[in-house]
Amino acid sequence: MVTPYRPTMTNVTTRRNQENTAFETRRRPSRAPRRSPRAPRPQLANALAWIAGIGLVISVGLAFVGQSIASFGSTGGWFTFAGRVTGLSGTYLLIIMVLLVTRLPWLEETVGQVRLVHWHRTVGGWPIAIVALHVVFITLGYAEASHVGVFSEFWTFIMHYPDMLTATVAFALMVLAGVSSIPAVRRMMKYQTWWAVHLYLYLALVLSFAHEIKTGVMFIGHPLTLDFWIALSAGALGVVLAIRFIRPLARNLRHQLRVVNVREEAPGVFSIIIKGRNMTQFEVAGGQFFQWRFMARGLWWHSHPYSLSALPRPPFIRVTVKRLGMQSLAATRLKPGTRVLVEGPYGVFTRHARRGGRVVLIGAGVGISPIRALLEDLPERTDVTVILRASTIEDLVHRKEMTEMVGERGGQLHEIVGSRKKVHLDGKTLRKLVGNVSTADIYVCGPAGFSANITETLLRLGARHDRIHQEAFAF
């Protein structure tokens, strides 16, 4: 038996002001040009990968500059050489790790922010380990050559070599950031703490630059290699500044986004309407997300990824958020007029991922939000089947809008309601709902477990692996 839902109005601003109704009633002008980010460019992404690989080979090759057969045989020769190889490759790979999550448009539009972050998390610790080896090997090598103990040699480094104390501090910061990112350790600390420690990696990279060019034997007296290393380092720094600071700043100055209204759509699910200037130039494809920074107390220092739950209706945009942790709780209590800063759009969960033919959209819980935006972005003649899954009928957010849009396109909408224990979206049910999926593009968005199960079922029903598109909901 389903108890009727009585909305609680106490904490939520629900004044039906003009602006709120305006978003609902204002139709997106069908002929107005709408900015949408371009389709993925795999060749560009591949070219970048090649360049990264060649850069790594060159960097490791630098270790051979000034090296000869004889120097291998000299006292401490092998350790010193190993120290140089690890120093060069470790630093280069750290720069690559930074660039992976710098949100380079050329990469992001093809690979997708979610996958880039995943790679960064999986591989990110290894360059730090390589740099640790560099510290060990160089100290051993130099100590052997000078016939002193390692501690004495380390002391000599700090006291007599330029910028080595700075480099040591940089190394300590790297170790801290690396250790704090081990999952077991990360779980023990608050997200804020982990994030702050991680940010120090920027500082560590900048601090260690000086010792690289002042003590690196492959750079001193070798202008070509020095130029390469300076170009690499300065280039990486420039890219980070341009994309993480200057670009978002320019965009936010152009759009001046502010919250106008927050409304509870379903128990614990809120839609936030945001208004801005020059919104006809606001680029986004349905299904993409932004990193939102609400300039309110407790929220300003950290950005949250939320998908748009509808295409922009200038001057308005909308996100639909589920109240989960402390952060989203604060987000649902935003006051109208709060400034909003965005970075994005990100994500490859868009119509660009289609190959043509049928489209199946499957959304569960608040995963319905990007599905809703994606649906709106599909051309009118699309053969679309939409499946919405939720525990109760009230949890099906935006169902009226979706019903309308599916109706416009002559597609099918299925609402699967009920608790997980009572209702199973298994193979038989799915086949009845979607029919033959072997030539369809299927978009799935929902909690991780749900997405994994559905994907497995779809594959067994004959769907093609490269035509199932998923948006991971948290990273």
């Binding site: 000299s74 052997e144 016939h147 070599y161 330029p162 104390l165 700075t166 001193i220």
Partner: protein
């Protein structure tokens, strides 16, 4: 984040302290080495080439300029004479360029010193040179020739030293 101000302030203070620390570069004071027993006739007076290279250093500044110390020397004729000195050719020893000056009395090497050395400001080289060159000079005086053992861990410096010394001796006809 409540502690943001403290963290940022702490970082700034820490950075200021860190960058104000100056390492003391290796002083490349290369005095000349004379043989202890000097025959009364020899009038060896080579001006000691004690020019120090202390590289003033502040964190984050540009690399120190390459330092070259040259001491004016006299090259003598080929015929061996009472007290004669010669400077060998400037030899590239892979980490820089050095030239050795040698003084002989008859056929006996009485003094050997570095006439000039330029290691491009490389602190590693400076450190190795500083440690090894006095040993090389000692070895030359003991062996009384350019065929010396060399210093392990300073093979390039040793090789360059030998080469320049040999060319100096050849100029003196030895």
């Amino acid at each position: 984040m409540k502690r943001a101000h403290v963290v940022i302030a702490g970082t700034v203070v820490g950075l200021a302290g860190l960058l104000s620390f100056n390492s003391t570069a290796v002083n490349l004071s290369l005095g000349s080495l004379s043989a202890v027993t000097v025959p009364p006739r020899s009038t060896t007076t080579t001006a000691p080439a004690t020019t120090t290279t202390s590289v003033p250093h502040s964190g984050g500044s540009t690399p120190p300029p390459a330092t070259t110390r040259v001491v004016p020397t006299t090259t003598t004729s080929a015929a061996p004479s009472a007290a004669n000195s010669a400077t060998g050719t400037a030899t590239n020893y892979s980490y820089g360029i050095l030239a050795v000056k040698v003084t002989v009395s008859g056929t006996k090497i009485t003094n050997v010193s570095i006439a000039s050395i330029d290691d491009g400001g490389n602190p590693r080289s400076a450190y190795i040179d500083q440690a090894s060159i006095p040993l090389l000079e000692q070895q030359v005086l003991s062996a009384q020739s350019a065929s010396i053992q060399g210093v392990s861990g300073a093979s390039y410096t040793s090789a360059g030293f030998e080469q320049s010394l040999q060319s100096a001796l050849s100029k003196l006809g030895l």
